[in-house]
């Protein structure tokens, strides 16, 4: 059965509090934190980018469970902040985990769901027998223009999932997707920051697609929300996943372990994947997890995941790499000036 063989996460240590960003732009901090349900967000170090985050996440996955790097036949890195416009991040990840040269690789881009698209690709390759294992990474050092609404949540982090058929820690029972051409959020070539359709982004973007994919999954599997122990939804803020969970009939308890956005921010391509990882951090054999990602532009990928006995067996060592909870602990807080320096928002004289 195809499923998750191992997983790993990386979150930079720096954080900025939302009221500190609000202070700079003269915005009402209380309204913002309440409206978004986000209190702080992660900030990359000066020498961290999507490639370093992807490598650290993939290495963590491999520390938790030994994989012969020669058997990793595919690597896909989903991001909207790849360090190069042309030169794949996936090749750097492959080299850094010793999987090159006998592998295929590509970078994916589909706003916040490029990573889950990578999981689907790896599932297809593993299931068809084309590769023993594939690695799908979702990672971003998310960009939000100074003063824009996105700046309050755009965060840095990522997760890597090793996908294969051999004794997975969690079987992926099914996946399905819901995709349309919707201009809710975009970034044109050569532009530094994305733009969005304002209030338009909610209903025709997030809610339509997440519900579309989620209801399709429930129908195709013949399940109801109460058949699942946990649910994870893309989390651009805390309000959207909470609202969509309610609309679909999932409870606050089901989404709690995977709702990492209040202390992390939106890691874009990493968002729902870090949420899934946080849920796997606490899941037990038999736990059933419902996942729906969302990427603007727009589409959602839904997954029905069932944790196996392998997660608690000697083959898998969850403690060999930090959990999401451990990665969120002991942050180093920066003020807006240091944040601006870390994010390269200060223009230097050359």
């Amino acid at each position: 059965m195809v499923g998750i063989y191992s997983y790993g996460v990386y979150i930079p240590r720096f954080r900025i509090k939302i009221p500190e960003i609000a202070r700079v732009w003269g915005a009402n901090a209380d309204d913002l934190t309440k409206g978004l349900g986000v209190f702080e967000k992660s900030v990359p170090d000066l020498d961290e980018d999507t490639a370093t985050i992807a490598v650290e996440a993939a290495r963590s996955a491999m520390r938790r469970r030994s994989v012969d790097p020669e058997k990793i036949g595919a690597i896909y890195v989903g991001s909207e902040s790849h360090p190069y416009a042309v030169k794949p991040t996936a090749c750097t990840v492959g080299e850094a985990i010793g999987a090159t040269p006998h592998m295929t690789a590509a970078d994916y881009e589909f706003a916040c769901k490029a990573g889950t698209a990578g999981i689907q690709t790896c599932m297809g390759l593993a299931k068809s027998g084309m590769v023993p294992y594939g690695i799908a990474v979702g990672a971003d050092v998310a960009q939000g223009a100074p003063g824009d609404a996105l700046e309050y949540t755009a965060a840095a982090g990522g997760a890597a999932f090793v996908i294969g058929n051999d004794d997975p820690i969690a079987v992926i029972n099914h996946t399905c997707s819901f995709t349309t051409d919707t201009p809710d959020f975009w970034r044109r070539e050569g532009q530094n920051f994305p733009r969005h359709g304002g209030r338009f982004t909610g209903d025709p973007g997030y809610f339509k697609h997440v519900q579309g994919a989620a209801r399709m999954m429930l129908e195709q599997m013949g399940k109801t929300p109460s058949d699942y122990d946990y649910a994870v939804f893309h989390q651009p803020n805390a309000k959207f996943p909470q609202r969509v969970a309610k609309m679909l009939g999932f409870s606050a308890d089901q989404i709690r372990p995977g709702l990492v956005v209040p202390r992390l921010g939106n890691t874009y391509s990493g968002s729902s994947m870090v949420g899934l990882a946080a849920t796997l951090d606490v899941a037990e054999p038999g736990s059933r997890i419902f996942v729906t990602s969302f990427g603007s532009g727009a589409g959602s990928d839904a997954f029905d995941i069932e944790v196996t006995d392998a997660i608690a067996s000697g083959a898998f060592d969850r403690s060999a790499a930090p959990t999401v909870e451990q990665l969120l602990a002991n942050p180093i807080y920066v003020d807006y000036a240091l944040y601006a320096k870390h994010k390269g928002k200060i223009v230097m004289q050359r």
Partner: protein
């Protein structure tokens, strides 16, 4: 650094690939193809260091070349890997945190970039591990 020189060093920069003399057991980083101890009897094989070690000594760089100027001040240390090879590398911590004997572990970071349009050099740095 030229693009080709960077490219040739990717295995040692990304993955701490050095060598070991299996005759006497000594480890070498950067990799050596000749053991000064065993000389012609030395059997040299590739070895990937685990990346754990400690700071032997360090200095704080406060004024750096253009490539590194936005990262000052930073800690540049001689790290002794547990297998017994020394290398010079950046330790990602504040100057106040750094001390001789501090346990460190390797991480994958951006080392430098060739301007706005050139190649980005990735490689190994260290972070405190205690």
């Amino acid at each position: 650094m030229s693009v080709s020189r960077f490219w040739r060093k990717i295995p040692q920069r990304y993955n701490l690939i050095g060598t070991q003399c299996t005759t006497c057991g000594r480890y070498f980083f950067p990799p050596r193809s000749f053991c000064p101890e065993c000389r012609r009897d030395g059997e040299i094989v590739d070895y990937q260091f685990k990346g754990d070690g400690e700071i032997v000594t360090y200095t704080v760089i406060r004024s750096a070349s253009d490539q590194f100027e936005n990262t000052t001040p930073y800690v540049l240390a001689i790290v002794r890997l547990d297998e017994g090879a020394d290398l010079t590398a950046q330790v990602v911590c504040t100057p106040e945190e750094a001390r001789i004997g501090m346990r460190v572990r390797s991480v994958f970071r951006r080392i430098a970039a060739d301007g706005e349009s050139g190649v980005i050099h990735y490689g190994t740095k260290f972070v405190p591990a205690e």
